[in-house]
């Protein structure tokens, strides 16, 4: 029978990887929805009403799936990681309770008004609802990341024993919760969410502009998405670079795994391109055996911020088990590579826009359409770097992951629920994908808004023929 530790970790991985898609969609869509609502109320132009109505449908289904998968995660700490919950409850439970009261309540109640209330409440309350829904999604990330950043760089606690169990007690709330990692994680995550949704908007719109150049709806979507992408894509790289420096300072082991740096060395180059020379290097990317295109001194520069000769501590010199280096190394490379591609895409689109032929470049449209879900995929990679990179620790240098698993859990039970979750979550993903694609194909306006058309033309429902 399977080890309950392995099963619990796999189950947490599956439920988190699937769950994160939906908060990314709602956090990323929120600022767009606020903008559409504001424009609709201010200008009374029908295209903004269409944009708001349509993207709200995508938001609503994302929120529902996010809610049900989020409850699973919250309860999962108790079911599978009871030892962790008992030990870390004093520091970890508070943020979860506050997330529920402060963020989730705001989001869920005003979403009711936002989705169903356009004709029932005043413009002012409706506008306020869109802002509060958005605020709720972002505050939710605040509290989750407060909790998570404490696990990455724990502060403000003392070890104690209670009822015979080791626990961490909260002694300095400001040190614990105003954690040095928090601002890095929050900015990186929120910008990633907006970037991902900007890419999704631009990609879907580019496809429809490419196949049917007449729709103002999709042209407007594409421009707004591209504008957001032009801001978020370069910012993510600038911010990510500085974030990496913080990781090098506070979690040297994770940084070494990201670079597959086994030996302690100075004046280390950044592996821009790393190709395994033998298949074994895929599972164990030992730096010496890779074919590497390197930017000399850059890894040292990254880690230190100023000194190209700075020393980077290698994995072999860190007195702890190593994280699964291959997963961290390749996920990090893929994340950075895709992030670079998004910048190229943004500038390419921006250049075409300046030239005035944004909607005429078929190759650009195909590139955007093909990249529409890559943003979300990249967020997943980022979280894999973050969470796998800190293994074997569930709380860095305080508690190992295997020690956090429920002691009462049997392998049979853990396996049964793991299989159950894999099945249910696969079905969830298929259903979500089906619904989103169906909404895009059948519910998005395919004709110019009525207000821009001759009033003699009768209204009719035109099915899209893509």
């Amino acid at each position: 029978m399977i080890d309950p530790v392995i099963a619990s970790r796999l189950q947490f991985a599956v439920t988190t990887i699937v769950h994160i898609i939906f908060p990314v969609m709602s956090m990323g869509l929120a600022p767009f929805l606020v903008y559409f609502t504001w424009k609709e109320i201010r200008t009374d132009e029908q295209v903004y009403e269409q944009l708001r109505t349509f993207w709200t449908k995508i938001f609503a289904i994302s929120f529902v799936v996010g809610t049900v998968t989020g409850i699973v995660l919250e309860f999962g700490f108790g079911t599978n990681f009871a030892a962790f919950s008992t030990t870390a409850g004093e520091l970890f439970g508070g943020p979860l309770a506050l997330e529920g009261m402060m963020a989730f309540m705001l989001e869920a109640t005003f979403l009711g008004i936002f989705v169903f209330g356009r004709d029932r409440v005043s413009d002012r309350l409706y506008m306020l609802s869109s802002v509060l829904v958005g605020l709720g999604t972002w505050l939710s990330a605040v509290w989750i990341l407060v909790a998570n950043s404490w696990m990455q760089t724990p502060r403000g606690y003392e070890m104690a024993t209670k009822n015979g169990h080791p626990i961490v007690t909260l002694v300095d709330p400001i040190a614990a919760y105003a954690n040095p990692r928090f601002p890095w994680m929050f900015v990186h995550m929120q910008n990633a969410a907006v970037l991902s949704v900007a890419l999704f908007l631009t990609g879907v719109a580019a496809y429809f502009v490419w196949t049917n150049r007449d729709t103002e709806f999709w042209r407007t979507t594409m421009k707004i998405g591209l504008a957001a992408l032009l801001v978020t894509a370069p910012f993510q790289a600038i911010h990510g670079d500085a974030y990496g420096r913080h990781v090098a300072e506070t979690q040297p082991q994770k940084f070494a795994a990201m670079e597959a740096q086994y030996e302690t060395d100075s004046a280390v180059g950044l592996k821009l391109l790393a190709v395994p020379t033998s298949l074994d290097d895929i599972t164990d990317p030992h730096a010496d055996d890779l074919f590497v295109v390197e930017l000399p001194f850059v890894a040292s520069l990254l880690a230190s911020g100023s000194d190209p000769g700075a020393t980077i501590t290698g994995l072999n010199d860190i007195d702890s088990e190593q994280p699964p280096v291959a997963i961290v190394f390749w996920a990090f490379r893929a994340m950075v590579g895709l992030g670079t591609w998004f910048i190229v895409l943004a500038f390419w689109g921006g250049y075409r826009w300046l030239q005035g032929d944004l909607f005429e470049d078929d190759l650009l449209a195909k590139a955007f359409a093909g990249s529409s879900v890559l943003g979300i995929f990249t967020v997943e990679l980022g979280w894999i770097v973050t969470e796998v990179g800190r293994q074997p620790w569930v709380i860095q240098d305080v508690m190992k992951t295997h020690a956090g698993v429920s002691s009462s859990l049997s392998g049979t039970h853990a396996l049964a629920t793991l299989i159950g979750f894999v099945g249910v979550y696969a079905a969830l993903l298929v259903l979500y994908w089906y619904v989103v694609v169906r909404l895009i194909r059948e519910e998005a306006p395919t004709r110019p808004p009525a207000s821009k058309r001759e009033t003699t033309v009768p209204e009719e429902v035109v099915p899209s023929d893509d």
């Binding site: 809610t67 049900v68 079911t79 004093e90 529920g100 989730f104 007690t169 619904v435």
Partner: protein
Amino acid sequence: MIDPLLATLPLSLADGPLFGLPLAELWFGLVFAVFGTFLFLDGFDFGVGALFATRSSEAEREQLLAAIGPFWDGNEVWLVVFGGMLFAVFPSAYATLFSRHYLLMFAILGALIVRGLAPELYEQRHDEAWHRWWGRAFVVGSVASPFFLGVFVGNWLFGVTGVASLASLLVGLAVVALTIVDGAAYLGVKTRGDVRLETRPIGHLAQVAYLPLAVTALVVGSRSAPHVALRSAPTLGLLGLTVLLAAVHIVAGRAGRTYLAFAAVAGQVYGLVALVATLLFPLVDPATDLSIADAIVSTVPLNLTTIGAAVLLPLVASYFVVLYAAFSGPVDDESSYA
């Protein structure tokens, strides 16, 4: 003028409970009050979902979905808040309860997933087969969720360590009956015409079933759980109150006083949860003999969470007022979910 006021405030979060209040006991009550709020609010969503099975016309089914459409997301969040509060304030109880009832927790989560998705998906397409399947899923999720939650509460109360006991299964059935009572009373307020007229007797029938189910569950469960003191004054008082409220529900319902009937049902839901809390007190997890005093977090996090809740819960209450006011009154015959 300010100085004397400041002097009365606690100087540091670590000095002791805020204002010397018995925070551990207050939080025990608050955790159950939040669970009760969830059971009352999402309870009528579950009940409407169960009653969905009794409606065959498409227009009436749409009316049922419209009646809960804007509200159920917010209602369900009370469960998330309950989980978060239990974790924040009694982490060891949260951990032992949830890990001990491992399979049951997954049954609850599975049922909630089906229940949450079904109405959303129901509205995505308008062909018969699609509606039939997601309609069924909605009914199954809406009945299974309160059933498993009830079994969980029964296991918790009676200190059951296995998957379930006869008593906890009876609690599950009682909770299902109570949510149908709740749902029918809610439809009494939110709908007109056939839907209201025809679901009312079903609600009354469920009301008649609820009382013996709850009492039998208590009697059976108390035999193997010495801490469940049935003959104490608070227990008998709460049981008496429930019988009275049940009578009020039925009489008011027949007289067409829908709001009064609905309030009587709300009283019963909170009464049930209050009964569970009373019977548990001062234990928070009888299966491990964990008391409130053993399980409560230390002073600093307790004070912090208390400040958070004191500020936020009134605010949250105001959101619900705004939401329910925006969609007050019965749903129209032709209104729908999306």
